[in-house]
Amino acid sequence: MSLTQKGRWISVVALLCLAAVYVRALAFTPLERLQGPAQKIFYLHVPAAIWTEAAMVLVGLAGIFYLFLKDPRLDRFAEASAEVGTVFATIVLTTGPIWGKPIWGTWWTWDARLTSTLLLFFLYVGYLLVRGSVRDAGLRARYAAVLGICGMCLVPFIHMSVYLFRTLHPQPIILKPSAPSLPASMLATWLFSLATFTLLYVGFVTQRYALSLARDSRGGEEGSSGHV
């Protein structure tokens, strides 16, 4: 089985799981007492947010290793991870306002987490733009690695600077030092969703990686397919 097919199968399984997450979240998980149905979005929003940040960290780590090992596989992975991260960031930035309107009464507020996710989104877009504007494959990989490492180091600063502001955003419910404070059935749905998003990430990255591989092997002319 080729890499593209593997990626496609993983994505299909992940998308089926995603449908199952919807069914479980809507039909078999209790309603939250204060937020009502709006809270259901939490099962999509939080796993997507976790993978948005994780994908950026992986882009940075791939960049570090690329600068030392000069292995094109690392660069292809970074490219794939950044594109999938952009998609996940878009999911977070779309589901957030949908939840925010009924609960906060506003689509958008310059709150700590919203700001940091938006900046992360811009970071991804800038990263992909730099990739798109360099023709030489080696140079592109090196530039992307440098920018990816800087981006990874920027994330904690964005967090610190925006957390010094007051925040409206709900505090972490699951990823916090003490035990998760939600009923077992909600936690189960959420964990299922996190696993689904992990699978989605792996599936999408595999497919995107296979695409870069095909481009590089076909090109030969220094991978100058110049995707903008």
């Binding site: 600068l67 811009f122 730099v130 530039y143 440098v146 800087c150 180091c153 600063f157 610190m160 502001f165």
Partner: protein, 226 residues
């Protein structure tokens, strides 16, 4: 270390001599700063918003734009006649080349800010007398962070298409954390609050400078080599 600084100084001096002899870029940047301040005056309703509330915003948006303008020229200069290749084959270490560019950019931006700050005080009648020294300190801290990242990125974009536009797009997200810190500290200073209230943001600015100056010194070699 001594040699590193000596080499960096040679690069910086070359850039600065070039800059002060032609003066075109410097004068353009200074005039640009004055123009942004002028535009700000007409971009607000003076009867609705007191100047003091808007002052930190005006100051920092102006300085951010001016710094980006300055950074664009840092390596553009070296593209003519393959001057960059000349620098790269000379026995300079990559780190000292970065530091040289960093110093030259810092001096350039400092000159622009040195003209911009009095103009800002004059145009908007902001009382800075009591807090002048801490204010200059904050400007210096934030500017170092801006320019450290900007110098690295300006080297990164020169061989790309749409270099000027791309630099702005990748640099602005990096300027947001120091910008937040600088605006908050400036607002507190101008509001007559004690410096101790700004310790959190000052630490953030200092940490940003340390991390990104070191990171950029290390990563610079990967951006210029062919």
């Amino acid at each position: 270390m001594g040699e590193l600084i000596a080499q960096a100084w040679i690069v910086a001096r070359k850039d600065l001599v070039l800059e002060f002899r032609t003066r075109t870029a410097l004068i353009s940047a200074v005039v640009f700063t004055a123009l942004v301040l002028t535009v700000f005056n007409f971009g607000r309703d003076p009867t609705a918003v007191p100047t003091i509330d808007l002052a930190p915003t005006i100051l920092w948006v102006t300085f951010t734009f001016a710094a980006m303008l300055a950074l664009n020229r840092a390596f553009q200069l070296e593209l003519e006649n393959q001057a960059l290749e000349g620098l790269l084959v000379s026995p300079l270490s990559r780190t000292s080349l970065y530091w040289g560019k960093l110093i030259a950019n810092l001096v350039f931006v400092a000159v622009v800010e040195g003209v911009g700050l009095p103009l800002f005080v004059l145009f908007f009648d902001v009382p800075v007398g009591r807090v002048l020294l801490p204010l200059i300190g904050v400007i210096a801290l934030a500017t170092l962070g801006f320019v450290a990242v900007g110098t690295l990125f300006s080297a990164l974009v020169i061989r790309t298409r749409f270099a000027e536009l791309l630099l702005v797009v990748i640099l602005l997200p990096f300027l947001v954390p120091p910008l937040i810190g600088a605006v908050q500290v400036t607002a507190r200073l101008l509001g007559g609050r004690p410096l101790s209230e700004s310790v959190g943001y000052l630490k953030l600015l200092a940490a940003y400078d340390i991390v990104f100056v070191s990171l950029a010194s290390f990563l610079f070699r990967f951006t210029v080599d062919e």
